[in-house]
Symmetry: C2
Subunit: 667 residues, 2 copies
């Protein structure tokens, strides 16, 4: 059951698509404390209560013991004490003495103090008195999530080829580099479906332009690539460069589509190209205009995009930069002791993503003029909505790949997300694992992390272990930053191992695709904590590093350097599968309970649940090469194992025709 | 056997105290590659080789898979990709196909690429052609470490009271705050032995001064505290404030004791007080002069110190700051695109600890003028040596507490170290655990981390879990930074639990003190990886989160948030002890093998090895209250359990008299 509570006069976010009547009774479970500016919902936790959720955020599957802030933030180097990441996903599920979900539909800051200030108290504080809060009760965890997901609408579905493996880099600087990457992959027989174009494909970082020197004919290149089974996926940034003669800048300015300051002049921020304006994605007309611009690239044969810098990230605002220079000049010649020196540093460090800057420009949203900070968490969502709505018009019959960095619940209907810039850290691999169920809860199914890590230098073992997990995530992309060690799969010593591991992805693709599609069609979670399926198993609730993936599989990834194995908990008897490649496999039936399992560095392990099947293809060098008809069945048959296989052509938008579903049986 | 290889004409570091003849044969195990500027020693690792060592550095007990740089660095927010911490400890132990230790005695940068560039290759690169390298072979790991430790000389020994629990904060601002802290501890019956004075006890951060407003009579305060069993432990910084009329500044200047630039003028750095000079700690005369200054505080009844900022940390140099301001002025008014904007940021961010600044001043060392960067890693060592040598003269019969932030091997004879500024991160608790054996290998026995974490906000559970590990480390100090959540033990909800956990430290103190003393006297490791004692156990080699502490105990700390237990590997049958307090204990005999053990948040667990004893006192509110005669014996008797107990008065400097050793037996 969904209970809806409207406080004051909320700003509509379009997160929810289902009509829900306002509840008549008082909000259950919580103590409510109102001030003139905030509302706090307090819940007394028992020792064994678990709090799931919050989508893209730091720490564990169980979110207890920290303070999280929903505030879309650009923080590549996020650490244990980071409170906000790129997305703002205000859904939690409390599981213990009571069982209920909560969704706070509010586009500004929401704070979740989950046993941080007081170990047994949860305080959800909304930074306003106008918002909607939903409380969802149900039979079990999955039922509550499903009700929530039905309320927020069906998740975006990517084309099938986007479930292949992609290679990215900030940046492949010209078409020669792209060809070289593809050649290296193909020569080493490492499968590949996508090459990503980061900011340098553009002419001086201008959206919807192409650097003609580096990419003289993008359309021809896209065609040439597609003939090899490769899609090019360019980046689109939020900010539009201020440059005379640049059509998008001039049109946007003329039509008044950019965000303005209080005095009515356009807000000027600095990002990649230097000074930019932000299109007012919240304004229907401006959004429609911006979305249609993707046509420039669609017309060149591009079939997928990633939207970036749309928190929006701000390196500096023109106004703040000016003031900083003035302040800095004053410090010159002084004896800078600790306080003055840190003031100097702050003048520069606080230029980026400054909350005062976010409070200095405005949107025209649903007929109202609204200050940006009041709707901050919607910006990335509405940029992606711009694209999604445009694609529906421009390409009504074809799925276009779209995923975003910033997001809010609701955006999941228009695109996926990657988990933003991360680091080549083992702890970020673990974070990736732990985040997947939380993202799925919030409707983000086409999702994954920058495999190998974006910032910092990767090592071969980290790259391998991360790929060994990444083969299970729908978005499977290797991405890394300027100045870091090259991390294309062929850059490492043991190329064959990389070919084998990535090859396994293409082998299990019928399963991954099928589970991904069913999760979207049925508003379910593809990645689940063990406790969701093994409700009566009290140990399952403690497990923070194993997941259920789809209907048949439990995974237990290795995420520690130099580890030659790991402890695995089996909530019931399962069949362990070890794969060195698609064809080199061993099996072992393991009993319920604790096990220490050896896992070689060149090896993927997973576990088949009793009476479950995994359809396995013969693999291929890219998705279209994979034969979804010629399947082998991996199974763990206790009595009779069954599997519901979803297949389709991979690009049309009809998903639930009966012929898409096939029932496989193994005895 | 120790093989010594002298390359070129090395700078003497005084790391080694034992005469070792130069080896006649070529260096074994390594391929050597020389260039005009560097020498690289390469070793081919087998899959199962483990590399231990490197003292204070990041990552695991097994150092494989990363690149470490010995370069004393101030980096509080160290992360997985940090290469250098506060100490430079060039000792490693290779354990696998071959078994040997390596010590590179070189005071500048040494790089240990341990399977980072190539997974199976270790490259040790010395940034010069003048240095000494030792290769040590022996019977087993412990034998090699012992030979190394004998070569570098006996480790510093702290007074017994310094093995109590200490409370620190940046900063307790006045004597009232000190009294309040102590009162709160005593009122809540949480044991306490030390309160630390951070930089604000000084008059404007000037070494060997006292802020008279905040601390009108430090001598009287020290006396008052001592009557309650509390020692005050002030900080001493490396930099001397430039201020007319400040005696230390004026004397140092007059006598030429400060480090100078090439042009003969004093080098000016900025740290806490703004502009400072660095005393030339490497110059015998200057060192002697600086060391004698500690007398100012000894005369006030102070019996312990911590040396800080002695990498030396530099916020900025006067020269670089001037240039930065000029460069910044040039950027004003430009369109700052990505490259120009990051240049602006770098101008400010690269002010601190800049390697060009370290190459711009000089020492007078052993009769030679040497540029600082060539001996960078010795500075903290020699600052602490200044104190150590002075204490020997000023207080010949009494142990003075001394520990440092920066260090090099050799310094372990003059003081301990804490592991420097860290963060309130669970990963830093794990790092603390993993670092202990490596520190012990390098002679640092009086050591520990800032419990609870220095930077960022601690939570009650992190504080507890960290204390539950910290009760085993000789240096047991809770320290936190300005602006972070207060983390004195009485600040949390469940004060009784804190009293109990810290109380356990005072219960096991006879064991901790005894093991600490024996480790120093015998050049052994108090904290050891499991594999050092269980050489034939191949699984023990994999264990990265359990340690042997002294002769009788194995620990398996909990270091994950919300964990209600953990997996523990027992290399042989042991007796598990669970303690909620000194008196609430349960025991269980566990068989060799893998176990999942429940560990409540308010609980300490450890394991007694077969036929071993642990002497347990009745506890106390401070060390001098602990009765070392009235002992209970915790034991796990298979046939006959024995223990060699070390006791002494805790402050005189004679350590190995026969009456200090007592043999306890339990049948």
């Amino acid at each position: 059951m969904i209970l809806k509570y409207v406080y004051g006069t909320p700003i509509e976010t379009d997160a929810v698509v289902k009509e829900v009547d306002g509840a008549e009774k008082n909000i259950p479970f919580f103590n409510v404390e109102k001030t003139e500016e905030t509302v706090t919902f307090s819940y007394q936790m028992e020792e064994d209560d678990i709090v799931y959720g919050l989508g893209e955020n730091v720490r564990g599957i169980n979110k207890r013991g920290f303070l999280y802030v929903s505030n879309c933030s650009d923080d590549p180097c996020h650490r244990e004490d980071t409170n906000s990441l790129y997305g703002a996903h205000n859904f939690i599920l409390v599981d213990g003495k009571e069982l209920f979900g909560v969704f706070v539909d509010f586009p500004e800051k929401v704070t979740f103090d989950i046993g941080y200030t007081k170990r047994t108290e949860m305080d959800i504080t909304v930074n306003d008195v106008n918002f909607v809060i939903y409380v969802i009760t149900g039979e079990d965890e999955k039922d509550i999530v499903k009700q929530f997901r039905q309320m927020i609408g069906q998740s975006y579905i990517a084309p099938k080829w986007a479930l292949g493996y992609g290679q990215s880099r900030w940046s492949y600087m010209n078409e020669g580099e792209i060809r070289e990457v593809v050649k290296n992959y193909r020569d080493n027989q490492i499968p590949l479906d996508m090459v990503y174009l980061d900011i340098d494909y553009m002419e001086r970082y201008k959206d919807f332009t192409v650097n003609k020197e580096a990419f003289p004919d993008l359309e021809a290149l896209a065609k040439e690539m597609k003939e090899q089974g490769i899609r090019l996926v360019p980046i689109i940034d939020a900010g539009v460069k201020i440059e005379e003669g640049y059509d998008i800048y001039e049109e946007g300015l003329e039509k008044g589509y950019f965000c303005k300051k209080e005095d009515g002049t356009e807000f000027v921020a600095g990002v990649w190209p230097g000074k930019v304006h932000f299109p007012d994605m919240l304004n229907d007309e401006a959004r429609n205009w911006f979305g249609k611009k993707y046509k420039v690239l669609l017309d060149k044969g591009i079939e997928g995009f990633w939207n970036d810098m749309n928190e929006p990230a701000i390196f500096y605002s023109e106004d703040r930069l000016k003031k900083a220079f003035e302040e800095l000049a004053k410090l010159q010649g002084e004896n800078l002791d600790i306080y003055k020196f840190f003031h100097m540093k702050d003048l520069v460090l606080e230029l980026a993503n400054n909350k005062e800057d976010y409070a200095s420009f405005y949107h025209e949203y649903k007929g109202q003029r609204i200050r940006h900070d009041k709707v901050h968490n919607l910006y990335g969502y509405y940029m992606t909505r711009a694209a999604g709505e445009a694609f529906d018009e421009l390409e009504p019959d074809k799925r276009i790949l779209m995923f975003s960095r910033a997001s809010y619940i609701g955006m999941h209907r228009y695109g996926g997300i990657w988990t933003g810039d991360n680091m080549s850290w083992w702890s970020h691999l673990l974070l990736n694992i732990r985040m997947m169920p939380a993202l799925n809860m919030c409707g983000f199914l086409y999702t994954g992390a920058d495999l190998g890590g974006f910032g910092a230098h990767v090592t071969e073992d980290l790259m391998l272990r991360w790929l060994e997990f990444g083969i299970f995530t729908p978005l499977m992309r290797n991405h890394s930053a300027l100045g870091t060690r090259r991390q294309e799969a062929y850059q490492f010593e043991d190329k064959k191992v990389f070919a084998n591991i990535i090859g396994i992805r293409y082998g299990i693709l019928p399963y991954i695709y099928s589970e991904y599609m069913k999760s979207s069609i049925r508003d379910e979670m593809m990645f689940r904590p063990l406790a969701f399926d093994y409700r009566e198993d009290s140990f399952a609730k403690r497990v923070e590093d194993q997941l259920l993936v789809g209907d048949s599989i439990m995974i237990a990834p290795v995420y520690e350097q130099n580890a030659k194995g790991r402890y695995v908990y089996l909530p019931e008897k399962m069949k362990m599968v070890k794969m060195k490649s698609l064809t080199e496999r061993t099996y072992e039936i393991l009993e319920k309970g604790h096990h220490y399992i050896d896992v070689d560095l060149d090896e993927v392990i997973f576990f088949i649940r009793p009476d479950k099947l995994i359809p396995l293809s013969k693999g291929g060098q890219f998705v279209e090469e994979v034969d979804f008809e010629d399947l082998e069945l991996l199974s763990f048959v206790e009595t009779e194992a069954t599997y519901e296989l979803y297949t389709d052509d991979g690009f049309t938008k009809e998903y639930d025709k009966p012929e898409h579903f096939k029932h496989l049986i193994s005895k």
